[in-house]
Symmetry: C2
Subunit: 391 residues, 2 copies
């Protein structure tokens, strides 16, 4: 009988009438006037919902709570009505993807009304606000590739690990065709789901390939959080970079290039990433230009890395020759690309670094996009970088 009592939750969860799924919070089921439900909402939840000026209305039914807040970076206090419904309307938000949490009586967690995404070191809510006139990452009526999930055994970490692989449209049909490959890294607090889900890598590439703007390519989306037993790998210290390099060179690349139809050689291999992953790409890509002809560094404030002086960055120290012998890098790299959000506090240091590189004669392509340290900037960075490589 214990079993019967135990699983009330499961029983109601799988009842017959729940074909379309549940609406947990009845006040969320209606879409308030002049708003649209966020596309990241679960099922039919009307809220969070977005006004035409990108203010967002959040709603939570929690009659017993003393305090309810929304943490969107800025903390918003919600107000309670007589039925225990808490609401708040935020300031206009930037278009794009923003992680957020609910905070009830000081405890922070994911909103049941939203999809969850692995970011900020846990499964977090997010709201994805459409950007007017921007549709390069939408699903369109074009040939679609796949995101393939697969496990490999890493001798470095001593564990089975998951990797996501984008294969372009036609991969299964054109069995004699080999493809160039982009290895792309997520940020801190994220994993291999970042570029596959939040980043919309598949739709960005599907659309670019359909328009003839990108060379059909494979994109390997690994988990960059590699640790090695007994090694103190932290931040950008030498041990961390050595473990990342070992995982990439001795496990990921051999696995991917054995199991997928990848064109050989550095001219068919690109490395890029965002934030932490941009740092990994900077260090590993520029130190190994025999392996990669294309390096993309998105939103990486290199000036903040462990072992570097605060707010300064000695590129020559970590990449010998980059300032004193830039021609070697110009000869070995076809594209060295740096991008950053225009509202990211990393922008000034990034521009300074790019200026230093240019002054020394190093070829570097720089672009910036509206937005802070967030996925809309990284989607645009991938969209930009993917058009420059393998050409």
């Amino acid at each position: 009988m214990d079993f019967l009592k135990k699983n009330i939750l499961c029983k109601s969860a799988f009842s017959f009438v729940a074909i379309v799924g549940f609406t947990l919070n009845s006040i969320n089921a209606q879409v308030p006037e002049n708003t649209k439900p966020a596309p990241t909402n679960i099922n039919q939840n009307g809220c969070p919902c977005i006004f035409s000026d990108n203010r967002v209305l959040f709603k939570v039914n929690a009659p017993e709570a003393k305090q309810v807040q929304v943490d969107l970076g800025q903390l918003y206090d919600m107000e309670k009505d007589s039925e225990g419904n808490w609401t708040v309307i935020t300031k206009p938000q930037d278009p794009g993807f923003h992680y957020y949490s609910l905070v009830i009586d000081g405890f922070k967690f994911a909103d049941p009304a939203s999809e969850s995404f692995f970011g900020t070191g846990r499964m977090a809510s997010a709201i994805d606000i459409p950007e007017e006139g921007v549709d390069f990452y939408n699903i369109k009526d074009v040939p679609h590739g796949e995101i393939r999930s697969r496990v490999y055994y890493s001798k470095t970490t001593g564990t089975w690990r998951n990797i996501n692989i984008y294969t372009p449209p036609g991969y299964d049909e054109n069995t004699n065709k080999d493809y160039p490959i982009l290895y792309i890294q997520h940020g801190g607090g994220e994993d291999e789901r970042g570029w596959a889900v939040q980043g919309k890598t598949n739709f960005i590439l599907d659309n670019l390939i359909a328009e003839g703007k990108a060379t059909p390519m494979i994109v390997a989306i690994p988990n960059g959080n590699a640790t090695k037993p007994g090694v103190n790998a932290r931040g950008y210290n030498d041990e961390a970079m050595a473990v990342f390099k070992e995982e990439l060179f001795e496990n990921i690349i051999p696995f991917v290039e054995k199991n997928y139809r990848v064109k050989p050689g550095s001219e068919n291999r690109a490395l890029s990433g965002l934030s932490m992953g941009g740092g990994q790409s900077f260090f590993t890509g520029l130190r190994n230009t025999d392996m990669f002809d294309y390096v993309g560094v998105f939103s990486t404030g290199l000036f903040g890395g462990i072992g570097r002086a605060n707010n300064s960055f000695d590129a020559e120290l970590v990449i010998p020759g980059i300032l004193t012998n830039p021609q070697k890098f110009n000869d070995n790299l076809k594209v060295f690309y740096i991008s950053v959000g225009e509202q990211d506090n990393r922008i000034e240091a990034t521009k300074t670094l790019v200026e230093t590189f240019k002054t020394k004669g190093l070829n570097v392509e720089f672009n910036s996009f509206p937005g802070d340290h967030e996925w809309q900037v990284w989607r645009k960075s991938l969209h930009d970088f993917a058009q420059k490589i393998f050409k």
Copy 2:
């Protein structure tokens, strides 16, 4: 400057030192004596953690909360210490996968210490308790297939929809080989992630294929929550079954069989599912034996469907001939399989139905497994059913 203030969360989320990810709740970082962290925990969280007798210790740091509970079907009140840490030790739990929620001051949500899974109509926490001596769904050192995620446009729902496809080891290499296919459906409150993530379909099939116990097959894992504008599809009513059939026959099967190397004909096509998906398989499979030679129905209390008398089920009414002309079904179906959990309250009605079928001369294979209405039963059902089909 608004932008800078706005994204404090994102900035800390992507800071340099967060290589391995965050531990939100510091009291969770240590694993208490005599326990093991649940494999479903995020990152290094020590709790929820499991004693050797399968009691589970939950921990939450919420100094401001008035009341904290764990909802595992049974609701457990947690106790607070002087530092605001709430803990509870549950009764011994069944091995396997259990959805759960935290409840703070009456509001139910997913535990930040756990991975989240789409179930119970939202992203829910779960704890997966290893079962001694049971390893058929573990990752082993055998050839591994892939779970491929892809979108198709449904003319029925009028939307782009995601589908997951398991392709067996060797699919990419053996380009002249075609495979039989199992279409498998999730339960109510779940979606196409259910069998791909909670169900561990890929590891179950990889292991069975490596042992020579299952014929290498493709498994299509669609989203069964299909709705059609203007149609009142609810539960098992005729409209719901018609929409499900239309989505499967006019969208999913043509898409899958066009894009993957699927052997043609009903002898190479199986349909199965759990709970709600078991009902979909029962109705759609048995009404269309020209399409499917194999039908698997897991944990479906058919006696509870809308339009049927309460606690009774007239099989002949919904599947004409099944009791009066069983030979037709015996001739057309190679395997008709029913399973249920031994602690599921559906078991008696399920056994009665199986007995009725057998009395009338219908060939039906029945099995039951320890457990309630839960994924451990469904993993075992797939493991059992997959060994019987395409042989």
